[in-house]
């Protein structure tokens, strides 16, 4: 991903396996980072099937989930991030 210059936003997307739903979420996430958060976020996609330990560490129960770890407060976006404008609003952009 191409938005690692500064770390105002720390975002992590958790998916479970390479399912169509995961694919939708990943592409939406990438789009969001590219178009609205360019240069101001660190973003990471984590596949829980590969990294099951992470599910417990990050308190994930639903997938896909986008976690905004910083700035506080923590937000969890559950779902395929279908409505980008809603996410942008919630992120306070």
């Amino acid at each position: 991903m191409d938005c690692r210059d500064s770390e105002i936003y720390k975002l992590k997307l958790y998916v479970a396996g390479r399912t169509p739903r995961s694919a939708v979420a990943i592409s939406k996430f990438e789009l969001l980072c590219r178009e609205h958060l360019a240069g101001m976020c660190s973003a990471e996609v984590i596949d829980l099937v590969q990294n099951p330990k992470q599910a417990r560490v990050a308190q994930i129960f639903a997938t896909p989930t986008l976690v905004k770890e910083s700035p506080a407060p923590i937000k969890r976006f559950v779902g395929t991030l279908l409505d980008t404008s809603q996410v942008i609003e919630a992120l306070g952009l």
């Binding site: 479970a16 829980l48 308190q59 997938t63 937000k75 559950v78 991030l81």
Partner: protein
């Protein structure tokens, strides 16, 4: 069904009996109940016992309590969760859902949860899983439609994994669980209940459904104490117990004599009724002492007096129970009946019996139980208790206070028909004093005495003496003593009269003999010629014959 359903033993005492072996293996079981009914404890005990006693590791997925809190809370119950986690026999995963952080943006599923659970199961090789309380998801996840579909999938997935799962659910109004989870868990549903009856808390458990197997259908009382969960399926067990021929001495030799010479039957039930202060507890103390003297254990359940009070009071009649308490042969359990409900008393009593395994149990008195239940309830409790004691071959001794106005053949709790031996102690008031009498109303299977005995509480314990039965009627106490001394006096006088007569005859006999001797000597001086001598000899023989006759008193 041709094949018996395989079951997983819970290790929870009593539950495996009423479920016929445990929870359905490899399937989910729903445990529902109100707040504080013991759902979480049940789940944790299921896992801890599995890991500790049955070699089946477990995963506890908590949606409500933090793992650190769980470890702490259960440490007080003697569940060393820390140790089990360190030994990789148990895994706890706390799923924290903060509704305010969550925003729904499109489609999702609970695959994250599946991954987490799957990882935890694999990490310890779990055979048992507890989800406590999965309904927390309903308040955390905005989309109920997705959640319901995912729960259905979750339970199917758990079944495929072959893990035995316990799912807890909060009881809702009018339904088993608030969110209707019972819809997805169809194999086994257990309801825990914690209700107040007359300000007394009672816990009960009921198996609502258990597919493919027979199970107990009653409501069973259960207990949560320092050993965890225990269900005591004490129902009327039926009359299948074996009768024992062995005898248990009563501790009072005279009472043994009254009971066919040997005492009570082992495993029988004994009832002692009497009005206040008739010495019922003293009979109980004698039995307790004689039991402990033989090196057997005795459990003394007292509803009226404290342990030290009983020991002090019994010392006054020469029964020292203290050494037996110290030797752990005698165990007192003193509790006011009003502390718990009736069912709970039964559970506690049964648990004590199980733990202490006594050969004699004393309940002093049962009449007090009536203060927390009606006659029918008390009778039902006692019937079940008597049955379970008989099944274990334990001699049960009950005392029951009856009010003076009542008929002696009637107990307030109506249990006399349950009892094998029934002894009545009464006081009889005469001449300004009250005296105790004892008699055996019935004693099944032995030739018991039909006599009334006077019952004396002395510093050497209970003593039984014969009552005075004579022309003056039945006499006890000082009247008996007075009558006895009058009798002794009369006998002495009679004897003296006889002796006087005997002496009189003796004197007369001696006088007669002296007379004969005199006659004989007179005849001896008159002998001269041989002819006369011959005649004299005949005369002498005649004289002797006459003397014999005159020597006997009738001739006088």
């Amino acid at each position: 069904m041709s094949k018996e359903l395989s079951k997983t033993r819970t290790g929870v005492s009593g539950l495996d009996e009423i479920t016929g072996g445990g929870l359905p293996q490899g399937r989910p079981t729903l445990i529902c109940g109100g707040p504080g009914s013991g759902k979480t404890l049940f789940g944790m005990e299921f896992l801890v016992r599995g890991a500790r006693d049955f070699g089946e590791n477990g995963v506890f997925m908590s949606f409500e309590e933090r793992d650190t809190d769980l470890v702490q809370n259960f440490a007080s119950l003697g569940f060393e969760i820390d140790g089990l986690i360190a030994a990789e026999k148990l895994a706890i995963d706390y799923v924290h859902i903060e509704r305010s952080e969550i925003l729904e943006t499109g489609e999702f599923d609970l695959e994250g949860l599946f991954v987490r659970l799957g990882f935890a199961i694999d990490s310890v090789g779990a055979k048992r899983v507890v989800l406590d309380t999965i309904e927390a998801l309903f308040s955390g996840i905005p989309n109920e439609g997705i959640l319901r579909a995912e729960l259905r999938r979750l339970f199917r997935w758990l079944k495929e994994k072959g893990v035995t799962t316990v799912i807890t659910g909060e009881q809702g109004s009018g339904s088993l669980t608030r969110h209707g989870i019972e819809e997805y868990v169809s194999d086994c549903v257990i309801l825990l209940d914690h209700r107040m009856i007359e300000q007394v808390a009672t816990r009960r458990l009921r198996i609502v459904k258990y597919r493919g197997t027979s199970h107990g259908t009653n409501e069973y009382p259960f207990l949560i104490d320092e050993d965890g969960f225990s269900v005591l399926p004490i129902t009327s067990l039926g009359l299948t117990h074996k009768a024992d021929n062995e005898r248990v001495p009563t501790g009072i030799s005279r009472l043994d004599t009254m009971l066919g010479g040997k005492g009570y039957f082992r495993g029988s039930s004994i009832l002692v009724t009497g009005t206040a202060g008739t010495g019922k507890s003293s009979l109980a103390a004698h039995l307790a002492k004689s039991t402990c003297e033989r090196g057997e254990r005795c459990l003394y359940l007292a509803f009226e007096e404290s342990e030290s009070q009983i020991i002090r009071n019994m010392k006054s009649i020469g029964i020292d129970l203290q050494p037996y308490v110290e030797k752990e042969l005698l165990l007192f359990h003193n509790v006011r009946p009003t502390v718990f409900g009736l069912e709970m008393h039964l559970v506690i009593m049964s648990k004590l019996v199980e733990k202490f395994s006594p050969s004699v149990v004393v309940i002093d008195p049962i009449s007090n139980l009536i203060s927390i239940g009606n006659q029918g309830e008390v009778k039902s409790i006692l019937t079940r208790f008597v049955d379970s004691m008989k099944l274990k071959g334990i001699t049960a001794f009950f005392t029951c206070l009856i009010s003076g106005s009542k008929d002696v053949d009637e107990t307030e709790v109506g249990v006399s028909s349950l009892m094998d031996t029934w002894i009545s102690v009464q006081t009889i008031e005469t001449n300004g004093e009250r005296n105790r009498v004892l008699y055996v109303i019935k004693s099944r299977g032995m030739a018991h005495s039909n006599q009334v005995r006077e019952f004396i509480l002395s510093s050497k314990g209970v003593q039984l003496t014969d009552v005075y039965v004579g022309p003056a009627g039945v006499l006890t106490g000082s009247a008996r003593i007075a009558q006895e001394s009058r009798d002794r006096q009369a006998e002495r006088e009679y004897r003296e009269r006889i002796d006087g007569k005997k002496r009189e005859f003796e004197t007369r006999k001696l006088a007669a003999e002296a007379q004969i001797a005199q006659i004989r000597s007179a005849a001896g001086t008159g002998k001269g010629t041989g002819k006369f001598y011959r005649r004299g000899r005949r005369k002498k023989a005649v004289a002797e014959r006459t003397a014999d006759r005159s020597g006997s008193p009738e001739a006088c």
